[in-house]
Amino acid sequence: MAEINLVQAINLALAHAMTDDPSVLVLGEDVGLDGGVFRATDGLFARFGAQRVFDTPLSEALIAGMSIGLAAQGFRPVAEIQFTGFVYPTIDQMANHASRLRTRTRGRLTCPMVLRSPCGGGIHAPEHHSESPEAMFAHIPGLRVVIPSSPARAYGLLLAAIRDPDPVVFLEPSRLYRATHETVADDGEALPLDRSFVLREGGDVTLIAWGAMVQEALAAAEELEASGIDAEVIDVATLKPLDTATILASVCRTGRCVIAHEAPLTGGFGGEIAARIVERGLVSLLAPVERVAGYDTVMPLPRLEQYYLPNATRIVAAARRARAYA
């Protein structure tokens, strides 16, 4: 078994799901012959044909809306939105319809669809290609929101998302598409959609992150270790529903925590996690919950993007602040 990167893991999961279940369809812009601009759907058109893989016209609201119609009819559409900046037109369909079809019809019609999109910065992409809109989706009741941070977790979580009977927004950190490699068994094993992953255990401080920030958190943990600070690293992975228990258990042990995300600080999902920690873990808190996040500015164009994106250095600094807190 060779090591594969994250985008290959996505591809593997898609192929596995399509093989297993003829109701799984793939649709989006350039997902056919071209195999997707990031190659996530590479080879699927050749393998599964024009009845399973659809190059749509250039219409994001349509891609989401059409997926709802397919899902209500019993298919399991996996739709790709090409870049993060173009998911906004899908919010109307996701908030007003996908997330509600089950409850509106008291379970008569359901919406087992997946909306995949790359997310985040760090690849020197053009304008509108590097945003992190996860908090918007995580605020919509009836949706699930998943962000993998390694090839194996991408594989297992995407399988789970496709098999889930409800709509899932699946955001893939484009920076990690080719940056991380891992051996992934194509065994069709799904991962749970409601568990965070403790990637590293440590008793001094909890680093909580998702997406590309998980790598930064791991790097930060290494750096902290060098100076004798033992960091626990949690990959949230499933923002919605949030696995509060795993987070709380860790923070209650360490008493200190840093939450890292790329999205702008204000209104980011880090606020939700911090709020839950203080709601249920106040007594254990030995220091303020630190958030290391994108600034409350528009994601800059590539030349300044490195100054915008949170990184291991900022996480380390925050962890040290938390440690130093009396």
Binding site: Q51, A61, G69, A72, Q73, N96, T103, T105, R106, A245
Partner: protein
Amino acid sequence: MRDVEDDVVAQFDVRLRRCLDAAGVPISALPGFAEDVRELVALYRGMVRTRQFDAKAIALQRTGRLGTYASSLGQEAVAVGAASAMQPDDVLLPSFREHGAQLWRGVSMLELLLYWGGDERGSRFHETRQDFPVCVPVGSHAPHAAGVALALKLRGEGRAALCIYGDGATSKGDVDEALNVAGVWLLPAVFLISNNQWAISVPRARQSAAETLAQKGIAAGLPCIQVDGNDVIAMRDTVGRALQRARAGAGASVVEALTYRLGDHTTADDASRYRKDAEVSPHWAEEPIARLRAYLAKVGAWHREDEERLLIEIGAEVETAASVYLATPPQPVESMFDFTYAALPAALIEQRSAAVSEAGTPEARHG
């Protein structure tokens, strides 16, 4: 902008189909189904049922026993004509004003009252299990219709999706996106514009400079046609042909039904703020029920006793539905949670308990 010598590379036209004139007199040869008066009586009954239901719904709203309600007064032929052209296993994706189509398809009066009374069970639809619920965000169901149609096509089932929306909805981009994909993928869908000439206070002429709304389909390469939407025979015929075409694999089409909203936009609206009675009155002479009745009477297929019997029968149905509705207890509080996901996530289980215990003391709520 044009010179005569420029080559014409494409040409289009939009035609108007009519069968009966406003007085119920045939204008052209009637379609085959109209030879069987029982078919026409069924259509008549469907329209009367819709109108009676409408009247009751408004009465319930006026007395505080129903929520905001959108009447379809005067537009019954669009909904009933279209629905009657469907096969049972076609899929209906209606806007919020097509009660006549829903009733024809087997949605019960009770279900409609529950929905408009603010109870999700009204969209449960025991009879027509694949039809979509009413779509409130205008036009946003057109992409669903494309998805449903793709599903039907992929399964090769010879079924079609029928999506109904208003003249106002034709300005929504998602509708255009749906038409476009239906065109390029040859989807088995019919997009029916119920052009009642108003989108709340905005008259048709201020909604678009398009000479017809049918021609919205030209942008998607779709065949398109106008039809007299107050002529239920023409409606059934036109939508029927469009659906047949779709089921046969020849692709989607756009039908614009010309009708008129005789009432307020909804019970929350006061149309006198923006349109004069003088504009409305002439349209009463065109309304669909009297028109078909006139025709039926002329061919000797409808008499005063028939009318009386029908009104009594439907009146009883409506009253029964209303009393069952009024006697229906609200859903339990936990029902707010139980359909959010297939299986309730842990955090929601906690919230549900909290909500249920909260609800235990409703008097405290208003303290």
